[in-house]
């Protein structure tokens, strides 16, 4: 990087134009559209590191996103990337992954996109043990459209479509994923950057359906409606209320409104993927 560096000598601070992660970012599109304190950027930052650590050749990594705030992730990553319609990232990714098994296909999308409208795709891809890395940024709300209730919104939380507090039971996503047969399931908040990075690295290198739930603050909508303070306050909440419990029974990891958030690696198993089984079957192999 031979960019102009202003060295304000006494403070030892440098003002620069480029960032070490820029090579994996479409830096011509930065700054991104996410609100200040939104956690998605941090999740992307972790992903960039994780991708580097995973040893996967960058050109062999394809990122697929759906619609919504997190749906924009594909557009900021300097990889082969596809921005599908609402909820359909997983089936698109399925097509890519099956058509060219050399590619590492990552679905990076939000909770509304993956779990609600795309819920059927999510559970079926997990069931098939499709060789995908799914990173689900869960901010408990539909952010892009202005803060509507999602299938992950905790009970009693207020949203624009549950103005008196959500009366529905939310999904316990890791439990759902385990029930569906996912090979790898982890959950971290965006505060747990190093662990999140590690989980993403593991997920990228996992042969099979790997699911990483990333709890992220939405200060603009979720937090404001529920009077939870700034994004920093939410981060602080994660700090105080996240409990690391690797191998926790996913049945116990549901998230209530401002309750303890159990994080950790919940599931890490090895079993043949869809394609392995499919090809084993068709070549008359089998196990």
């Amino acid at each position: 990087m031979s960019t102009a560096v202003t060295n304000t000598a006494p403070t030892g601070e440098r003002q620069v134009q480029h960032h070490p992660k820029d090579t994996l970012l479409r830096d011509d599109r930065l700054p991104h559209i996410w609100c200040p304190t939104c956690g998605i950027g941090t999740a992307v930052s972790c992903f960039v590191e994780a991708l580097r650590e995973s040893g996967i050749p960058e050109e062999k990594c394809v990122v697929v996103s759906g619609i919504g705030c997190t749906g924009r992730v594909a557009g900021y990553l300097n990889l082969d990337s596809f921005h599908t319609t609402h909820g359909r990232a997983i089936p698109f990714a399925t097509g890519v992954a099956l058509a060219n098994p050399d590619l590492h296909v990552v679905v990076f999308s939000g909770d509304g996109d993956l779990v609600a409208i795309g819920g059927n795709h999510l559970i079926n891809a997990a069931r098939r043990n499709m060789n995908l890395t799914v990173i689900c940024v869960n901010n408990f709300i539909y952010g892009m459209t202005g803060g509507q209730c999602a299938s992950t919104t905790p009970e009693t939380a207020r949203t624009s479509t549950s103005p008196r507090g959500n009366t529905e039971y939310p999904f316990n996503v890791p439990y759902l994923m385990e029930a569906c047969g996912a090979s790898y399931i982890a959950r971290w908040t965006v505060l747990h950057i190093r662990r999140l990075k590690k989980a993403m690295t593991e997920a990228l290198n996992k042969n099979g359906f790997a699911f990483v739930e990333v709890i992220a603050p939405c200060s603009t909508l979720y937090s404001r409606r529920n009077k939870l303070g700034t994004g920093y306050d939410l981060m602080k909440f994660y700090h105080d209320n996240a409990e690391i419990r690797h191998g926790a029974n996913t049945k116990d990891v549901g998230i209530g409104f401002q309750t303890k958030i159990i994080v950790g690696k919940f599931v890490d198993i090895t079993k043949p993927t869809f394609l392995e089984k499919y090809q084993g079957k068709t070549t008359g192999g089998g196990k």
């Binding site: 505060l191 950057i193 190093r194 994660y238 690391i244």
Partner: protein, 602 residues
């Protein structure tokens, strides 16, 4: 199990269930090869406690080279990785991948028959004695710091230097009894080991650097152990100067950082001035800071000096008052290594006797339930601090697990139907005692209830100490103050007692975990009712007296006599009348109820 703490103890002699918290080291000690790469990259430096702060360690460290286990650990309080964020440099460089920030404390349950408490001691912090300038003057050090500075494995690799300029000090003063034998600051007791330690330090110096000039300021040199006197004399022969008298103040020459003391020479008389390159404060021994935790877990007591109390100072010096628990080393009192080891052997031997016996009898002071009277209200289950009573479903009588019952009698006092009998402390037995005591001249008497472990023992201690107090008290011993049924108190007043005293262990020190909380509730209820009935609540007193509080016991006795004197015969007669009336009313009510029931049945 290093880096572990006992967090819970239940059960009883021969059958303790202990939960040990194995604190996480964040380093897999099995995998760690102690290569030290992590230390190189760790950005956090902290003073090394092992080297008394003379050198640094990182947030990831081995306590000292010979530590067992020889594995690194991360001090999370120091580490940048304030959960849940970690800088992770150590984890990144660790080839064996044995650093795991997600490690959690482990809780291990073990079962043991005997417990030896060897929680040791701490060293007195002399910064409290400001005139000695510790922490103000770099060349004033403690005896523990001396150990590190002279040690070949220490921060200076055994080159004895003074901290201010790293030059070898040639004139060294030792001040004895820092924090010991002082009524005002530190502790009143003799710390036992400091005299000999100073003698040793002087000899070490003379050995390493014969030209060193050592001066010891002391009150007495207590060299009472085997070959100690020889040792002391040897130091004198080597030229160590002993001056009787403790300096009042240390001053520092800001230029040279040398230290000056003024001291009254109580041997020779007169005031001496001395200048030193370095002064060593011979600091005393204090009870282990956390000993209260273990004390509480094992229901032990402490003596007035803060060390753990033995079951008997002469006959059972290594037994704790709680059966199956033994004390050893400085947890019990300050002592040197030899004595500690000896006591360790003794404690082990006593534990051995217990373990080898293979079985033990539990005193028959336990509860039994008469199923025919029980109405299944389960109040007893709620009050039992030992969870020794098991529910069989509401409405049916619960079961008492005799082995788990410690015999406090709380359940018996709580039982509204009288269906729980506290063996050997039955209602009938205690009521007979009340009646016997108040057979004559109740107005002259204080009817007292005292728990076996604290108040009664406090009374014994007053006796042993020959503390005189008025004669009006008549104590009834119960295992715990929680055995005192409200009915006993009423019976006392009804039989004409001028005063009733309920006494037990201090609130937080109950020998039955939390049983005496119920005592408080019961006494409160009686006070309320006394107030309602027009009986002066002052006539019922509740006192907490520990086994070591003979003085307090005597004082309580004196105070209560004064109260007793204020109670007139008329007042007592009035009380008896009121209580008679109450009894009649209660009887009438009961009869009416029975009638109703019979009517309904008819």
């Amino acid at each position: 199990m290093a880096y572990s703490e006992v967090v819970n103890v239940s059960g009883f002699v021969g059958n303790f269930k202990v939960t040990v918290k194995k604190k996480t080291r964040y380093v897999n000690e099995k995998e760690c090869t102690a290569c030290g790469e992590c230390v190189k990259v760790c950005p956090i430096t902290k003073p090394d406690a092992y080297q008394t702060g003379f050198s640094t360690r990182k947030a990831i460290y081995i306590p000292f080279p010979q530590a067992v286990p020889a594995s690194y650990l991360i001090n999370m309080d120091d580490c940048l990785g304030i959960n849940p964020i970690a800088c992770g440099k150590c984890a990144d460089v660790c080839e064996k991948k044995c650093i795991d920030f997600d490690q959690q404390d482990k809780f291990i349950d073990i079962e043991v028959g005997a417990i030896i408490v060897a929680t040791g001691m701490d060293v007195y912090d002399p910064s409290e004695i400001d005139e000695y300038g510790y922490t103000r003057f770099p060349n004033v050090i403690t005896s523990m710091e001396f150990e590190r500075l002279i040690c070949a494995g220490g921060p200076t690799e055994g080159h004895f230097i003074r901290p201010s300029d790293r030059q070898r000090p040639k004139r060294i003063g030792f001040i004895q009894c820092v924090g010991s034998r002082s009524a005002k600051r530190g502790n009143p007791y003799c710390s036992n080991i400091c005299c000999m330690n100073t003698v040793k330090d002087c000899l070490l110096l003379k050995d390493h650097y014969p030209d060193t000039d050592c001066t010891v300021f002391y009150m007495d040199i207590r060299a009472f152990g085997k070959s100690f006197e020889d040792f002391y004399m040897r130091s004198k022969e080597e030229g160590v100067k002993y001056l009787r008298g403790l300096p009042g103040e240390i001053e520092e020459d800001p230029a040279t950082r040398n230290l000056r003391v003024v001291v009254e020479n109580t041997n020779g008389g007169g005031v001496d001035f001395h200048e030193f390159d370095m002064i060593v404060l011979s600091t005393g021994v204090i009870p282990q800071k956390d000993s209260a935790v273990i004390r509480k877990l094992l229901t032990l007591s402490k003596t007035s000096d803060g060390f753990l109390m033995e079951a008997h100072p002469r006959l059972k010096p290594v037994d704790a008052p709680t059966r199956g628990v033994f004390l050893a080393g400085c947890a019990e009192s300050p002592k040197d290594i030899k004595d500690s080891v000896a006591q360790a052997g003794a404690a082990a031997s006593h534990a051995n006797i217990l373990l080898n016996a293979g079985h033990i009898s539990i005193e028959a002071v336990t509860s039994v339930i008469d199923d025919s009277m029980c109405n299944g209200c389960e109040l007893c289950i709620d009050v039992c601090p030992y969870h020794a009573i098991q529910s069989n479903g509401k409405k049916s009588p619960p079961t008492i697990i005799t082995a788990a019952c410690a015999g406090c009698g709380n359940c018996g006092a709580a039982c509204p139907t009288g269906s729980i009998t506290m063996r050997h402390f039955t209602d009938m037995q205690i009521e007979a005692q009340i009646d016997a005591i108040l057979e004559e001249d109740g107005d002259q008497k204080v009817l007292g209830f005292a728990c076996n472990w604290c108040s009664y023992a406090g009374g014994d201690f007053a006796g042993i100490s020959r503390l005189q107090y008025p004669t009006d008290a008549r104590l009834i011993r119960t295992m715990c103050s929680a055995r005192v049924d409200e009915e006993f108190i009423w019976r006392g007043f009804h039989k004409g007692a001028a005063m009733v005293l309920v006494s037990g262990c201090h609130y937080a020190d109950c020998h039955y975990i939390s049983a005496n909380r119920q005592t408080v509730q019961r006494v409160n209820r009686v006070w309320d009712k006394m107030e309602r009935l027009g009986i002066r609540p002052e006539r019922l007193q509740l006192e907490w007296i520990s086994a070591a509080e003979g003085q307090k016991f005597a004082k309580v006795m004196r105070d209560i006599e004064q109260m007793r004197k204020r109670v007139t015969k008329e007042e007592i007669d009035e009380t008896v009348r009121i209580l008679n009336e109450e009894r009649d009313k209660a009887a009438a009510k009961k009869a009416a109820k029975t009638d109703k029931k019979e009517q309904a049945a008819a």
